[in-house]
């Protein structure tokens, strides 16, 4: 029966960061039209919530898919240290080229977390505000929307 079941460990983290949505490939008018107030030259910020889902076998000795202390340390090092209380545009090299939308943020964070050695990264969800969130499960996995 257990083989027919999949168990995932979910963990939420929080970080606060600023960003500005602006594309150098668009004119000032187009940037303003496409990104609206998110194009404000001085940027703005959000309290992001990052949800990480890991799968794997539950170790009978510990009852765990992964030790939370290991996961917390990994996420802290790979993401939170570089993102929390930072400007995504200025402080995260990936966003010097790409617009720091939450879609792109999801893909960047997934890349940073997929090498976790003790469990398989299934997907992440980034909540930008209480009213919008984005999920990414990697490009080789067909995300099944409920």
């Amino acid at each position: 029966m257990s083989n027919a079941l999949k168990v995932e460990l979910g963990r939420r983290y929080r970080f606060s960061a600023s960003h500005r949505l602006h594309s150098p490939h668009l004119s000032a008018e187009e940037n303003c039209r496409v990104f609206g107030k998110c194009n404000n030259p001085f940027g703005h910020g959000h309290n992001y919530v990052l949800e990480v889902s890991m799968s794997g076998d539950v170790d009978p000795a510990t009852g765990m898919i992964a030790n939370l202390a290991d996961l917390d340390t990994f996420v802290e090092r790979q993401v939170l240290e570089e993102f929390d209380h930072k400007s995504l545009n200025e402080d995260v090299s990936a966003f010097r080229e790409k617009v720091p939308t939450t879609e792109n943020l999801c893909m960047e964070i997934f890349q940073r977390l997929k090498s976790f050695p003790k469990a398989k990264l299934e997907r992440i969800r980034v909540q930008e505000t209480a009213n919008n969130s984005f999920e990414y499960a990697g490009d080789n996995v067909e995300g099944k929307q409920r």
Partner: protein, 143 residues
């Protein structure tokens, strides 16, 4: 297909300790969860059932019936209990979120006969939870 979710909360205590490991290993692996006198949480359980609405009642299953199943199988077994000592299904297992979620799936799955159990999510705290679902399904899209 319709997915129907009901949420319940229960409060329980537990301790993480593996008798096959040394005291030092237990402390190293489980940290403060290894406190011998245990500790507790307010657990939140979300149970999702899949199915087609009955053409007569418009229901996948009667919510009253789901409520009764959850009361009988989960609340009476786990609410205001010590998970290590009072829940037979968890005997000999570390009562982590992963293990409790799996036990809850195994308890509920045969009892839900209208529709079919689709997904169980158990929160130990707002920032820590476990998902359990049938292999091949997905826990995606659940805020």
């Amino acid at each position: 297909m319709i997915l129907l979710t009901r949420k319940i909360e229960f409060a329980a205590s537990h301790v993480y300790h593996n008798p096959n490991l040394s005291a030092e290993e237990n402390r190293r692996i489980f940290g403060k969860c290894n406190n011998p006198h245990g500790h507790g949480h307010n657990y939140t359980l979300e149970v999702t059932v899949e199915g087609q609405p009955d053409p007569v009642t418009g229901m996948v299953l009667d919510l009253k019936e789901l409520k009764e199943i959850l009361e009988r199988e989960i609340m009476q077994r786990m609410d205001h209990r010590h998970l290590n000592y009072e829940v037979a299904e968890l005997a000999g297992q570390i009562p982590t979120c992963e293990n409790i979620a799996r036990i809850i799936w195994q308890l509920l799955e045969p009892k839900i006969t209208q529709g079919r159990l689709h997904h169980v999510r158990l929160y130990e705290s707002p920032d820590l939870f476990a998902d359990c679902y049938r292999n091949g399904a997905s826990a995606a899209g659940k805020p």
